[in-house]
């Protein structure tokens, strides 16, 4: 365990170095957030009845999404890992007395967390002071806030575990481009990154809620604004825990399979 913690610490402090990039990123995310909210406003004006969340909850969802972008975006995968598989550097990693899965997992968690820590604060601080329906609302209750933190972490874990599956398939396919693109767009849509899950039409929404993708950003972001509460909320949390174990299990399984037949490329 200690060595994985060390990997985590190393990556984390490395990620904190890129402050100028983070600043530029924060500006971008503000602009995206503003446009997104303006878009929802137009639809809200068109037909407030049909709006499935309160407008304030939607605005909070958008801001939280921008603030914690780095935690949940599947396309932010590590090229280093892909490269090490395709160019054969993987050999060095295999020599180390560590488990590949755990090491990469620690690395992904650290990278995502460090990026999010750098970027979330300015967005959260500014948006909480924006005028009422457009800004970030305060959490509905203290218990909801605690649960938000917990599910935020669970969601991050599920996202990272899912990315591990993609890294692992790269052992079998070598060229990651195809799998990666398809996986990214599927996840993006079903996790509620394009439009939040409540905006999906009936029937489709219920199915989407069961998929692992719904256990990523969907749960914490909606718990925060109180949109997801009561029985439905507990179901979502238990589903998160289920997918966490399931994805990790499948990932480890793929890992053992891959290690048995690993071919070192290049030279």
């Amino acid at each position: 365990m200690r060595k994985y913690l060390a990997f985590f610490r190393l990556r984390f402090s490395m990620g904190l170095q890129y402050r100028a990039a983070a600043l530029s990123g924060v500006i971008t995310q503000f602009a995206w957030g503003v446009m997104e909210i303006l878009m929802f406003r137009a639809f809200y004006r068109a037909d407030a009845e049909a709006f499935p969340m309160t407008f304030q909850a939607t605005a909070s969802y958008v801001w939280m999404q921008q603030a914690f972008l780095a935690l949940f975006m599947v396309w932010m995968m590590e090229n280093e890992i892909f490269n090490s598989i395709t160019d054969g550097n993987i050999a060095y990693e295999l020599c180390r007395p560590v488990d590949i899965y755990n090491m990469w997992f620690a690395r992904s968690l650290a990278n995502r967390l460090s990026r999010a820590v750098l970027r979330c604060m300015p967005i959260l601080v500014v948006t909480i002071f924006l005028p009422a329906p457009y800004g970030l609302m305060r959490p509905v209750s203290f218990s909801a806030f605690l649960l938000f933190l917990l599910t935020l972490f669970l969601g991050l874990w599920v996202t990272a575990a899912f990315c591990m599956l993609i890294y692992m398939t790269c052992f079998f396919t070598i060229s990651p481009m195809g799998v990666r693109m398809v996986a990214t767009s599927v996840v993006e849509f079903f996790s509620g990154a394009v439009i939040p899950l409540p905006f999906f039409p009936d029937g489709f929404r219920q199915v989407a809620a069961l998929l692992p993708f719904a256990s990523m950003q969907n749960v914490p972001l909606r718990i925060y604004s109180g949109d997801l509460a009561g029985k439905e909320m507990w179901q979502a949390v238990s589903l998160q825990i289920f997918w966490l174990f399931a994805l990790t299990f499948i990932g480890k399984l793929l890992n053992t399979l891959a290690m048995k037949k690993v071919t070192v490329q290049g030279g």
Binding site: A21, M39, F43, A46, M181, S185, E188
Partner: protein, 257 residues
């Protein structure tokens, strides 16, 4: 122009060597923008009308914007990766050749996999075209062509700005994404739905509205006739972009290799 044709053929040939990989990335590109389309579809299932625009009309708008952007991206991809050229000091090589620098950068990279996206844009446009009750005439078809051309020029100009900034920072700046990817992303709806302020910005600062919103109004018989010529006006946007580029080239100091 002949030189550009040569570049074009070379890139096409090099892509065709890896046919499967090319096909897969095309499909990937198609899927990625399919997401956005699905989002629009679901929103309209729920709301039917936004700011007086129906689903079919929005689709027409989305199709055109996507086509403008993808065309620009296919041909101006070299600017998108320009930070790499500056970083590696490859721009020195470009400068010593007795040809126009912009032409060479344009020719340094072409992204044919964007065909996936263009294909989708065509499908969406054709669908919007078929179901919308626009009464088509020659002038309107001409307007669409002008929109696509003008739009590609504006997006090309934005890529040029992005590249010019690299002269000063050697790194590409992430916030430029707002103007390129962001415009593609939010161009799925007519610009006016984002409110008056945004519409003004998009008319006078970066002329998105001139290539999307106003001509669209004309297509839908809601705007004045001169709206159809606004995409031509939008092409003037290229002038300040070129100026910035010239400034950048003068400012350029090699970063070595």
């Amino acid at each position: 122009m002949r030189l550009y044709g040569k570049y074009f053929v070379i890139h096409l040939k090099s892509v065709m060597v890896y046919k499967t990989s090319f096909l897969l990335t095309c499909i990937g590109q198609f899927l990625v923008s399919f997401n956005v389309f699905l989002g629009v579809y679901f929103m309209f299932q729920r709301f039917h009308v936004v700011e007086g625009f129906t689903y079919n009309e929005a689709l027409l708008c989305f199709g055109i914007t996507l086509m403008e952007f993808s065309l620009a991206e296919t041909f101006a991809r070299g600017f998108d990766l320009f930070s790499y050229i500056v970083n590696k000091g490859e721009f020195d090589r470009i400068l010593v050749r007795p040809r126009n620098e912009i032409l060479q950068v344009l020719g340094s990279r072409m992204e044919f996999s964007r065909i996936g996206r263009i294909f989708q844009a065509i499908v969406m446009f054709a669908y919007g075209f078929a179901v919308s009750d626009v009464s088509w005439n020659l002038l309107k078809i001409l307007t669409v062509i002008l929109m696509i051309l003008g739009g590609s020029v504006v997006f090309g100009g934005l890529f040029l700005i992005y590249a010019s900034i690299c002269f000063f920072t050697t790194e590409g700046l992430e916030f430029m994404n707002i103007f390129t990817d962001g415009a593609r992303e939010y161009g799925k709806y007519p610009v006016c739905i984002y409110g008056k302020r945004v519409l003004q910005l998009c008319t006078f600062m970066v002329p998105y509205a001139l290539i999307q919103y106003y001509p669209l109004l004309y297509l839908l018989d809601r705007g004045k006739a001169y709206y159809s010529l606004l995409p031509v006006v939008a092409c003037l946007f290229l002038l300040p972009c070129l100026l910035l580029w010239k400034l950048g080239v003068r400012h350029y100091t090699s970063s070595g290799s």
